[in-house]
């Protein structure tokens, strides 16, 4: 099965500072990759998904961006964080035609002050 690594586990950043969250995947190749944000421990908001290297689709307009420099690496970035960017960020793999189940990483708790 797949293993998803995310880091850091927790992050406290000031408003206006940059952000870089990294996700790597083990146990598969050419996975679909996803970034979700979860606010207040409830629903998942899909932010970005990728079907291959350099292929990124954005689901919502915001000050966040994503990149996929390698097959099993997915990065979430921001140039200037907003208070509203606080939340629990989850990376997921799978959900494609060969692996319909999604596998989630442990998450990053981001607090913007």
């Amino acid at each position: 099965s797949q293993t998803i690594h995310q880091w850091p586990a927790t992050l406290v950043q000031p408003v206006g500072s940059p952000l870089s969250l990294e996700c790597t995947v083990e146990g598969t190749s050419n996975p679909n990759l996803y970034w979700y944000r979860q606010a207040a421990g409830r629903g998942l908001q899909l932010l970005f998904y990728s079907v291959g290297i350099g292929q990124i689709s954005s689901e919502v307009p915001q000050n966040l961006s994503a990149s996929r420099p390698q097959d099993r690496q997915f990065i979430l970035s921001s140039k200037k964080l907003l208070l509203s960017d606080s939340g629990f960020y989850l990376c997921a793999s799978g959900g494609g035609p060969s692996t319909d189940t999604q596998y989630f990483g442990p998450g990053t708790r981001l607090t913007v002050l």
Binding site: I4, Q6, N32, G41, R42, G43, L44, L46, Y49, V51, S57, F88, L90, A92, G95, G96, P97, D100, T101, Q102, Y103, F104, G105, P106, G107, R109
Partner: protein, 115 residues
């Protein structure tokens, strides 16, 4: 368009009693349905899925779910709840978008099992 509804924000059940967490969906074509569980400050874990075949699906930790096409439901069930089952449960349905597979998640249901 597709959607998933989890009508209960919270479900309370006593340990040892049966539990049901409800999910209804709306999707064009045949649905692929999933249940995931999330413990505090953790990522989601896969519980079970329905793709095709038997309407009763068995999954991890003694959970099962029944696919009901006429009622467009996929309720999660367990015959005897444990305190350790207390967590946030998500129902999801899958679709296809531009060649990718984009799951839609429900808002989640908090299950609280009382000793």
């Amino acid at each position: 368009a597709q959607s998933v509804a989890q009508p209960e924000d919270q479900v309370n059940v006593a340990e040892g009693n049966p539990l049901t967490v409800k999910c209804t969906y709306s999707v064009s074509g045949n649905p692929y349905l999933f249940w995931y569980v999330q413990y505090p400050n953790r990522g989601l874990q896969f519980l079970l899925k329905y793709i095709t075949g038997d309407n009763l699906v068995k999954g991890s930790y003694g959970f099962e779910a029944e696919f009901n096409k006429s009622q467009t439901s996929f309720h999660l069930k367990k015959p005897s709840a444990l305190v350790s089952d207390s967590a946030l449960y998500f129902c999801a349905v899958r679709t296809i978008s531009g060649g990718s597979y984009i799951p839609t998640f429900g808002r989640g249901t908090s299950l609280i099992v009382h000793p």
